[in-house]
Symmetry: C2
Subunit: 230 residues, 2 copies
Amino acid sequence: MVFGYDEMRLNALLVKRTLNHSVTSTSTVWTLTGNHIYQEEPLEEAAARVLRDLTGLEDVYLEQFGSFADPARLKNPKDQEWLRSINHDPERRVITVGYFALLDSTKVTLQWRGRDVEWKPVREVGDLGFDHNHILDQALEALRNKMRHEPIGFELLPEKFTLTQLQNLYEQIFDTQFDKRNFRKKVARMKYVIPLDEKQVGVPHKPAQLFVFSREVYEKTRTELFDFIV
Amino acid sequence: MVFGYDEMRLNALLVKRTLNHSVTSTSTVWTLTGNHIYQEEPLEEAAARVLRDLTGLEDVYLEQFGSFADPARLKNPKDQEWLRSINHDPERRVITVGYFALLDSTKVTLQWRGRDVEWKPVREVGDLGFDHNHILDQALEALRNKMRHEPIGFELLPEKFTLTQLQNLYEQIFDTQFDKRNFRKKVARMKYVIPLDEKQVGVPHKPAQLFVFSREVYEKTRTELFDFIV
DNA sequence: GCAAAAGTGTTTCTCATACACCCATGT
DNA sequence: ACATGGGTGTATGAGAAACACTTTTGC
């Protein structure tokens, strides 16, 4: 499950799969990206490989968020037909281990070997094939949970970003609004968000200061928070 | 991975597995509890079944925390020998989907059909077989992460508990100390921790008031916290 | 000069933290 | 009477939340 952000919205990367029922009848369905693992391949490597084939990118943030193996998950007629078409015995269950990837979608040229791939705003994703709506929901929940407590939002932004971009990102993902001044005060306390001596250029308004995220500083200054809830 | 708490410490439930190399030579190894799934069984049901066989308990808190499928995870000679002994082709990889269970270990009579099962304080677990030390670490991390933000600690306590028991539980699991007065003020704000008109009896000191946790009240009053970290 | 987004300060209230003594029970 | 854990209040500081105007740029 690939999340991309484009300065506007959080998007999901979808693949169109086409099924030839017969010479005259085909149907298509949108699904999440993904593929089978190789015989001797660790899960995370498989996730990274599939993502590389799709986007050409290396070293993308990847995180395992759950496994899906209900015996009934691919039992409807369409799913069964699909499994047969790829020579998978439809009686044998498919275990999917889900990873989500985070990236700046404006930096990506999609290139999955002729396959029909597209970004779709997460909120506007319709009915997907298989149990992929369920998997998407789980991925989104895992993303939000992680983002609440760890600084991974930067993975979705360009390396240099403005505070307004950062704020928009969090507003999008948490579907809420923050007060600009309070947001900035909060970020100012995070020493790992570092201001550059550099501003936007060519914008038709006061140019904003650019910032970078430093994982190094974060790791050094991170303080185990005990905002635990009993 | 079964976590139990006994008013003292957080424990892991371990099974002793015995391997007969030959008539004269056997070796034993401690491992986490677990078993294979059935052909047509959902993962969570399998976890619940294994747990029921072990403890006789139903409706125990269970949560999936990760999957382990590295091709090399069961490749050392001992693991290979073990796989052969249960008629599993040692060349075929084993995918483990990990769930952790939370329970009050004082309420459990272990009963795994003659197998050697025991509670061991999590901190004192030594070398386990297979990759189970790694899995335990992951389970513990998942438990801590979840406990930081959701009220699941109660699953480890008797239904009626004292605030001191609750505090000890959190101190154990987070390996820290809290100030008693501040802890109680914090709990007092959580409306879903409900005081009873009931006190401890037979204790050689001032008897403590008993409390219960109400998931219902929690679900109603839970407020999406935005203590997010950028 | 105007449209567009950047940037900034103060007040109020809640919560985290630090800290020390008296209380109720069983033996 | 004594040992054991139960139970309580106050002061300080940090951060969350609410709120409006000035600044810099491109056109």
